[in-house]
């Protein structure tokens, strides 16, 4: 009896057991398997990026630059940023969760272009390998921002190799975005109108718009950097008549909207979770949906707020400052609407909801500090300090990574057919929250007090806060290691999941966990509104202990 129940297996045929062997995975066109391929790849890249973060925080334990040389330190923060931005955050929710869940959510058998989807993954891998090889054989020290003329002329590191790696991975992102947009337009099941679409789809659609419109610009910009470096042509080199600010304009034209590529899918996850764990439909569905589109559009109009002190015209700076204030509005609308959704809802505190709470609080702090940075005078004071670093880690880690964790936990039963252990998951969420704030809140203070970023040495009066920050980072690391362990554990020993363990509303919950390869036995016909929790029977939510 014990042997039989100790290791449960899924009897039914599903996308995981329909085919075995490495070729059935490497040549798959099933969006669910491709999502899993991405899960493995980006998790690997996350730990490499985290490794560089660990070295940075270790160096910053002491005021002197004594762990590594300044050149090496430049490489550490550059590679940490490049890997985390391009190879982890940008693909994270779209490529892992979006790939898996979007066709299910719209009632389709697959994305519009399954083979292009597989190509996306191979491009991601090719880009990641190219960048990693360049990093292992010497790295880059230009910062993830590749500012010229240092990157084009003076740096002695593998700029071209890493730039090519990012270029290739950029096309992975473009094709994924293209696939999502076409799928959401053309592959919706009968009855699935735009107004019934889950907000996760709206958010990923908005992010996909940015991927498609913005990524090509950074692609051509990095190509120009590589050409300039190879042929010494001088488009961005002032000594040869070029303008380094042109590089910055073109770079940030993508890289600012890129932060919305990163956060929008996370916001989509939060929308799904808040409604399910409040047992209440989203307050102001249309506003949340349109806010996603507004963020995508407005996000393209603000890029030069990264260049306020770089030498742009002050009149242009004024314009960009005003536009940057505007872009905060749709994000605020979302936060208000999530809060209003929870009001008078029947709140459940399972792990996904804990991460969602964390997201809402920390994203708000991060977002507000972004508004501070949009103010010209304030930016002059805190630009290139730890204030900026704290700001973007609040939105990206406190916001986005928490949303990613929330999504992984929420859809884990659907993806794997297993329940993760709830107690360990709650503990990890707590460790992440405590560790995160301990790491990054001191950095707001450090930045305001004047500690510059990208320096491996600092004045001794900043040491206490730096030590606190490093201590927080070690707690945060534990918070990330634990899910690695228990998620893997759950694959074999986790309790089997029913089709809808959260009793959630949505097409993806109306098929088996894990789903069959073809997703639905019959194409669903949608006759209900989105988040119709009023009519969802209040069954006991079955989550493993």
């Amino acid at each position: 009896m014990d042997m039989a129940t100790a290791v449960q297996t899924v009897e039914r045929e599903n996308y995981l057991n329909s085919n075995y062997g490495i070729k059935s995975w490497l040549f798959t066109t099933d969006h669910k398997r491709i999502a899993m391929l991405y899960l493995v790849s980006i998790t690997f890249m996350f730990w490499i990026g985290g490794f560089f973060a660990m070295l940075i925080r270790l160096e910053l334990l002491t005021p002197a630059g004594d762990l590594v040389s300044s050149d090496t330190y430049n490489k550490l923060f550059s590679m940490h940023g490049i890997i985390m931005v391009f190879f982890f955050l940008i693909p994270s929710v779209p490529a892992v969760i979006g790939n898996f869940v979007i066709p299910l959510m719209v009632g389709a058998k697959d994305l519009a272009f399954p083979r292009v989807n597989l190509l996306s993954w191979y491009l991601y891998m090719a880009g990641a390998i190219t960048a990693l090889v360049s990093m292992v054989t010497g790295g880059v020290d230009t910062g993830w921002t590749f500012y010229t003329p240092f990157s084009t002329t003076y740096s002695n590191t593998h700029v071209i190799g890493v730039a090519i790696g990012i270029f290739i991975t950029g096309f992975s992102s473009i094709l994924t975005g293209l696939n999502f947009i076409v799928t959401i337009h053309r592959m919706r099941a009968p009855g699935m109108t735009w107004r019934r679409l889950p907000l996760f789809c709206w958010s990923n659609y908005a992010a996909a718009l940015i991927m498609v419109l913005g990524t090509p610009v950074i692609a051509i910009t990095l190509l120009l950097v590589a050409l300039e470096r190879a042929f010494n042509i001088g488009i961005f080199n002032p000594q040869l008549g070029g303008d380094p600010l042109l590089f910055q304009h073109l770079f940030w034209f993508y890289s600012h909207p890129a932060v919305y590529i990163m956060i929008l899918p996370g916001m989509g996850v939060i929308s799904e979770i808040v409604t399910c764990f409040s047992r209440k439909r989203v307050f102001g569905y249309e506003f949340v949906a349109l806010a996603s589109i507004a963020i995508a559009v407005l996000g393209f109009l603000v890029w030069a707020h990264h260049m306020f002190v770089a030498g742009i015209s002050v009149y242009a700076a004024l314009v960009f400052s005003l536009l940057s204030y505007l872009v905060a509005i749709p994000s605020a609308v979302k936060v208000f609407n999530w809060t209003a959704t929870m009001y008078k809802g029947s709140i459940r505190y399972e792990t996904p909801m804990l991460y969602a709470f964390g997201f809402i609080g920390l994203f708000t702090i991060g977002g507000l500090t972004g508004v501070f940075l949009a103010s010209l005078g304030l930016d002059v004071h805190v630009h290139d300090t730890y204030f900026v670093i704290a700001h973007f880690h609040y939105v990206m880690v406190g916001g986005m990574v928490m949303a990613y964790m929330a999504g992984l936990h929420f859809w884990w039963p659907k993806i794997t057919g297993r329940l993760y252990p709830e107690a360990w998951a709650k503990l990890s969420a707590l460790l992440v929250f405590v560790g995160f704030n301990t790491t990054f809140f001191p950095q707001f203070i450090l930045g305001y007090m004047g500690m510059p970023r990208r320096y491996h040495a600092y004045p001794p009066e900043f040491q206490v806060l730096n030590v606190l920050s490093t201590a927080g980072a070690s707690i945060l690391a534990v918070g990330y290691v634990l899910p690695m362990i228990y998620f893997l554990w759950s694959l074999r020993y986790g309790e089997l999941s029913p089709p809808n363990p959260w009793n959630a509303v949505g097409l993806e919950w109306m098929t088996a966990s894990p789903p069959p390869t073809h997703n639905f036995d019959e194409t669903p016909v949608v006759t209900w509104e989105a988040y119709d929790y009023e009519h969802q029977p209040q069954e006991e939510v079955s989550v493993g202990q």
Binding site: P190, L245, F253, A304, I312, V319
Partner: protein
């Protein structure tokens, strides 16, 4: 079953050969025109004339050779989005370059 914007699929529309040939002739004439205009000194308007002719040519290619005239509204929105996003990139960048020379302080 699948969302379509039009009753008749755009692919069902067959453009007559004469229309294609007519567009081609117009494009060739415009090319000749633009080369001719380059031999006349119009000062700053040389480039304006050249771009107007180029845009006319481009519009004909997109509307008729690329069948935008017979395509869905969604396709039209895609083309407009492209133009709009180019416009954003060009115009907002130029707010910097065009105003750098403006002095914040009184000129000497």
């Amino acid at each position: 079953m699948k969302p379509t914007d039009e009753h008749i699929s755009p692919q069902a529309h067959i453009v007559p050969v004469s229309l294609y040939v007519g567009i081609w002739i117009t494009l060739m004439i415009c090319t000749g025109l633009t080369v001719f205009a380059a031999s006349v000194d119009l000062g700053i308007f040389n480039i304006v004339v050249a771009l107007v002719i180029a845009t006319l040519k481009g519009t004909l290619v997109v509307l008729f050779f690329m069948h935008l005239r017979y395509s869905t509204k969604l396709t039209m929105v895609t083309v407009i989005a492209a133009l709009f996003w180019l416009f954003i990139m060009f115009s907002l960048s130029m707010t910097d370059y065009l105003t750098r020379g403006w002095s914040t302080y009184a000129s000497r």
